[in-house]
Symmetry: C2
Subunit: 345 residues, 2 copies
């Protein structure tokens, strides 16, 4: 249930937490006509995608891949949607604390709940990783899966990112949505492979990305089968991690949930490194791409690679950059490769 948390990563954005109670806006981020990759500037990144798809779908190509084998995997946070200043699901957990405490009043005066309730962001920034985990366990487990689904869905329909004053599900990258659509229109089965909670992402994956729940692989907790007082069976979310879908957990999760090696993989941080390595270790044509957040004006600029600030969320290290360069991975510059970032622009 716990993403690969870094305390600084989680807390660095506490000061920027959105306030509640905004009005509901319709979702955006729809497909753009039929021109493939319309929001992409011409350049090596766009060309790499076009070349890969041509090489693997042209029957005359020596690198042709049968349709049944066409698997493409996409990290979510920082690759398909905004991950700053804080992972969206962590915002959810923190904002969920008041409701949890309302149900369990004994938590009101107990840490770390007391601090989160105080709204004192400076104090919240000092919470330990263990205390953060306690918050994740309290807000993501212990309830029937249907109850979790309903609560999280309701939140997703109203909570907003404070910079753009928009639903989190509006903050998906239009160029990446076009890649998803372009891959699918060429017979690729598109998967999300996220360090985030699998069941959280599954709530909106179809609507937002066109990806059905069963094609979302993520950090996943166990459930427990039981019966209610009328004998009706239901599943309860357990505080037990079955798959930590970060770093080496990504290829391990891909093997568990998909059972075969992707031909294309997209990421943006060290958490995606092993997924890209594993993808690249296959035969024939393979496409490995890394989104570089280098656009402070339209989105954010972060990551030590290329001298950008190290914010500890979505870490794009110099080591990752160097490995990618050596291994033939393609870096996507948000600043240079994307005509626009969001559909609402």
């Amino acid at each position: 249930m716990k993403p690969d948390l870094n305390r600084r990563a989680v807390l660095s954005g506490l000061a920027l937490l959105p306030t509640l109670g905004q009005t509901l806006l319709p979702a955006v981020g729809k497909a753009q006509g039929t021109v493939p990759l319309a929001s992409w500037n011409d350049g090596p990144a766009k060309q790499a995608i076009l070349d890969f798809v041509r090489a693997t779908t042209d029957q005359a190509s020596p690198k042709f891949v049968p349709p049944a084998d066409r698997i493409a995997t996409f990290d979510q946070d920082g690759t398909l949607w905004v991950e700053h200043p804080m992972y969206t699901q962590v915002v959810y957990c923190l904002e969920r604390v008041p409701a949890v405490v309302a149900q369990k009043p004994e938590l009101k005066d107990r840490e770390p709940f007391k601090t989160v309730l105080s709204g004192n962001h400076e104090a919240m920034a000092k919470l330990s990783l263990q205390e953060l985990e306690e918050i994740l366990v309290a807000t993501l487990t212990g309830m029937p899966v249907d109850v979790f689904d309903a609560e999280a869905k309701k939140w997703l329909e109203t909570a907003k990112h404070q910079r753009w004053k928009r639903l989190y599900t509006d903050l998906i990258y239009q160029p990446m949505l076009e890649v998803l659509q372009y891959m699918r229109s060429n017979g690729y089965k598109t998967y999300i492979v996220t360090g985030g909670g699998q069941d959280f992402v599954r709530l909106y994956s179809q609507q937002v990305y066109g990806i059905p729940p069963e094609q979302v692989v993520g950090t996943a907790g166990g459930t427990k089968y039981g019966y209610d007082k009328d004998g009706k069976p239901f599943l309860t979310k357990e505080p037990k991690v079955l798959l930590n879908d970060n770093n080496a957990g990504k290829p391990e999760g891909i093997y568990l949930m998909i059972g075969r090696r992707p031909y294309a993989a997209f990421g943006n941080s060290t958490g995606d490194q092993q997924m890209l390595e594993y993808t690249g270790a296959g035969d024939g044509a393979r496409l490995m791409m890394l989104v570089l957040h280098d656009d402070a004006q339209r989105e954010y600029a972060y990551g030590p690679a290329q001298g950008l600030p190290d914010t500890k969320v979505g870490i794009f290290t110099q080591t990752l950059y160097d490995e990618g360069k050596k291994s033939g991975w393609t870096v996507i510059s948000m600043k240079n490769d994307w005509k626009r970032i969001f559909a609402f622009e």
Copy 2:
């Protein structure tokens, strides 16, 4: 990694173990024309399938299910193929012991390997459950996933069931293959949800059932990501169970791997009970079916329900039968409902 083993279940068939070295026959069990359910006799079981599909696919029906939500799950052992006298994967593990010992000669004089190597079926029948687990761990884990795949595939291409002298993959039930095809041709996504090893079944699911690897949910072990001496990444099968896909593990596995409730579920034993309950607890039209092995002449007759022998493999208890009856589940009589059992007949 370990199926829901019952010592008697596993060992009861030891005396019937096939011998090695038979010649390779082509796979059979292909689709039958375009008439749906051609190998089924008219009767309540066939009618239940036809009625369910009509109710959920006719747009005018109050029980219409959108194509994206059409999920059908099928147990494998005893539901899609023969499970007697022993689960096929357990036969694989026992027959794999000589190769494992050849690689690790120190096991030669150690139990339980010594007994398995002796070929003394009476002694093998006395192995404890713990010893059996040791055999499963030794034969199913510790190797790179690619090595396991190659070994198991090779075995599946040659090993034969001693009663029919045919490949195990030939021993699939033609009427159930027709159900899979009929459901798919009506927009249903078909899944195998098996207590057997997920990666074992994935090796032949596409070829034999038309079900891609990612639509096989089974008992699953962890893997570990690492690098070979050339720095190439690979996954090693670990002796750690992530999902025991039996009994309550079936709905839990469905939630983990599919993320939504099936509309139809097929099983044949108490290991499928919770999957059928969970399916039946959903709204609208749901189809729950149990294959009853009551045909000693063409296949086997077993299970305490209806006074058949209790062989402890694929247990169809009186309790299961009664719950099914109360809950509106449909029993499929192999003897009465199926015109033929196998495609090669």
